[in-house]
Assembly symmetry: C2
């Protein structure tokens, strides 16, 4: 990276800093970027370039809106196959049980992910990620969980690591070995959890492929006790945890996540007020995933009012996955968070910036626009922040800047 100074000026800046009015808005604003960092941010006349810095330049943003680079803090975007046929079967009347019995559902994705070559999976994930970047994403979380054996889980996370190296964006790698029971362990969930804790997780963590550990705590997945064992193993390795919690039933997942001071508890449709209170007390971020809610035709909504009451930070993510949320668009997730969960546009935008950065443990570096943070931002063909939430899937960013460099787009 070069160390020249760039001044992005004539912009409306939603800094997303709290305590500075709605969206932390700065009118007629500028951002001074030095190398990969924000050096200064303010209103009206920007500082002059540092004397002697011959590389310094000014870029006129034409009055456009700037937000922090968006952060998608919950995705399963590395996978093989697709589930279009299953979708068609479901809608033409085949029961879920019959589809599962025929090897459909998550098991079909596990088989396809195991069978597919690493480069093929990489190329498909890279294409998805590029489309997501074009929507303003500069940081993404990617989970394993379609391998359910050491080799394939490791393959998925290596792909996540390669994506970070190949594309100029930040990738948070989450180990989700406890996503579903692999066919080899049918009827032996405890044995599988033993394997996850004693073999898979230590092996994969030793390759530095894990930033956090996730599990799916649900009647159709793993019990609270099994989840607890995974979390204990993660904690023993010094790894933070997060949890798929209370998506389809109130299983006390939120409280379990809070007990381990999880970075995030995700889904939470069935979380009760007591669970919300524990999240607030633990500082665990509630990650809402309206795509899965929409796609599964759910009607029970996460307790947004209780989250507000107990000061729980609310993030919003795509849950991009081939089964229950085949949706790449973070902008659509923003819209759905407003329409389906009645978040305000400001809450929704916090959900893909500040709160999402906290859910990934990177708020000191990203999530708001302020000096010393990484220069990750999106410049939108819009004037009002609410315009990012209101039209479905629009507007697009004119330009996405990552660590000070233009990732995609241009200002014309």
């Amino acid at each position: 990276m070069s160390n020249h100074t760039t001044i992005w000026e004539n912009a409306r800046i939603a800094t997303m800093q709290t305590g500075t009015g709605p969206y932390g808005l700065i009118d007629d604003g500028f951002i001074v970027v030095a190398g990969e960092q924000i050096q200064d941010i303010g209103s009206a006349n920007p500082v002059h370039p540092i004397a002697g810095d011959v590389d310094s330049r000014r870029i006129d943003c034409g009055g456009r809106l700037i937000t922090p680079g968006l952060i998608d803090c919950h995705t399963h975007l590395v996978y093989g196959g697709n589930r279009a046929s299953e979708f068609e079967l479901r809608l033409t009347g085949t029961s879920y049980a019959d589809i599962a019995a025929a090897g459909g559902g998550i098991q079909s994705t596990v088989q396809a992910t195991r069978n597919e070559a690493e480069d093929v999976l990489f190329d498909a994930a890279r294409e998805r990620l590029q489309r997501m970047i074009s929507q303003g994403i500069t940081t993404v979380e990617i989970k394993s969980g379609y391998g359910l054996d050491t080799d394939t889980e490791s393959k998925m996370l290596r792909i996540a690591q390669r994506l970070e190296r190949d594309l100029p964006l930040c990738v948070h790698k989450t180990f989700l070995g406890a996503h579903a029971l692999p066919p080899e362990y049918a009827g032996q969930p405890d044995n599988y959890i033993d394997h996850v804790c004693q073999h898979m997780l230590p092996a994969i963590a030793s390759e530095s492929l894990v930033d956090s550990v996730d599990a799916f705590c649900e009647t159709i997945a793993f019990s609270n006790e099994q989840t607890r064992r995974v979390f204990t193993a993660a904690s023993d390795l010094g790894l933070p945890v997060r949890l798929h919690a209370d998506q389809l039933s109130d299983s006390g997942g939120a409280s379990l996540a809070a007990e381990f001071a999880a970075l995030s508890a995700d889904h939470l449709e069935y979380t009760n007020a007591a669970g919300a209170k524990t999240l607030g007390a633990a500082g665990t971020v509630a990650v809402l995933l309206p795509g899965a809610f929409y796609y599964l035709g759910e009607t029970t909504r996460p307790p947004v009012k209780a989250f507000r009451e107990y000061g729980v930070d609310i993030a919003v993510a795509t849950d991009m996955n081939p089964g229950s949320s085949p949706m790449e668009s973070i902008l659509l997730a923003l819209n759905m968070a407003c329409i389906l969960f009645a978040l305000t546009p400001e809450e929704a935008l916090r959900g893909v910036t500040v709160a999402a950065a906290r859910a990934l443990g990177v708020l000191q570096d990203r999530g708001t626009l302020e000096p010393t943070k990484r220069a990750d931002f999106a410049i939108w063909n819009a004037a009002e922040p609410a315009e990012l939430c209101y039209p479905i899937g629009a507007p697009q960013p004119a330009c996405v800047v990552k660590s000070g460099q233009v990732l995609t787009g241009h200002l014309s």
Copy 2:
């Protein structure tokens, strides 16, 4: 247009012809295009180019899926302003009544559309339409209805006409003077309907700016009797009609539309079985608009089973408009029709091809892929038709062909 022959080969073709199996699929198919028309379509070895036609060429579609060019048969895509602020007010607790009292709602769009210069409205609509074309649209319906005076209604329809001339796609122009009551006629809906029937419609029709006439029959808009007068005036001018019917209450709108042998009855969330039966008997197409259903948080669904039972053709459209369906994506409408209204993927795809063509009265020319029809088609980065419905807003077409010419994209 040149008259050379082009053979699009090595494709999976969803002809959408009925009686030929699901989607009218042809494997290993070809389409021979002569000028603007489909000359031949079939499987395996295409006919050889006509002897002496030195311009003939072959294009390898790489096994991709081809569908008819998609048809969005219900949009309000010419308008001024945007309603992002109103969206934010609603979600931060301001009541709809207070927003309306402050000049919000449809009246704010009417004011913005009246005040905006024709070229500015044209440019904004053109941008929207180009994004829609990139999703595979080759025919679109555009309604007036944000003018509510002769000058502005005429301005909107002139823009629709210019869009057709400027962009290589087909535009169906619908006069929707009876969309809402303009402020000049507050408290005098019958007088406004008189004005619509006796002055606006004849004046605008005389400029050849109208292909069909629409009205909004609803408790918050116009009564059945007022709608009947508009339809009678349209019929007197030889213009076909369509209707915004039964969206928010069962007002007998479907039956009214059927009584006038309307091309389509649109929305229909509250239509009862008897209403569905009248549509079937009249051959009126039911146009489902899941975007507005989603956006308004509705819970009553259109009677899809009754439509099937009574042989009602079901179309699907975006309802693109700045208030209740700020959604440009026909692919998202397809997905929503499946997820929210439980259409099968095949029904949904029929809804944006065959049935949409019938709703616009152009089925003899478009809507399926067969000889003598216009060569409008989209070539998708997909193999299965269900892939157009299953991932949200994806895949995109590799290439869109309109009247035999490549409109956007390329095959690589």
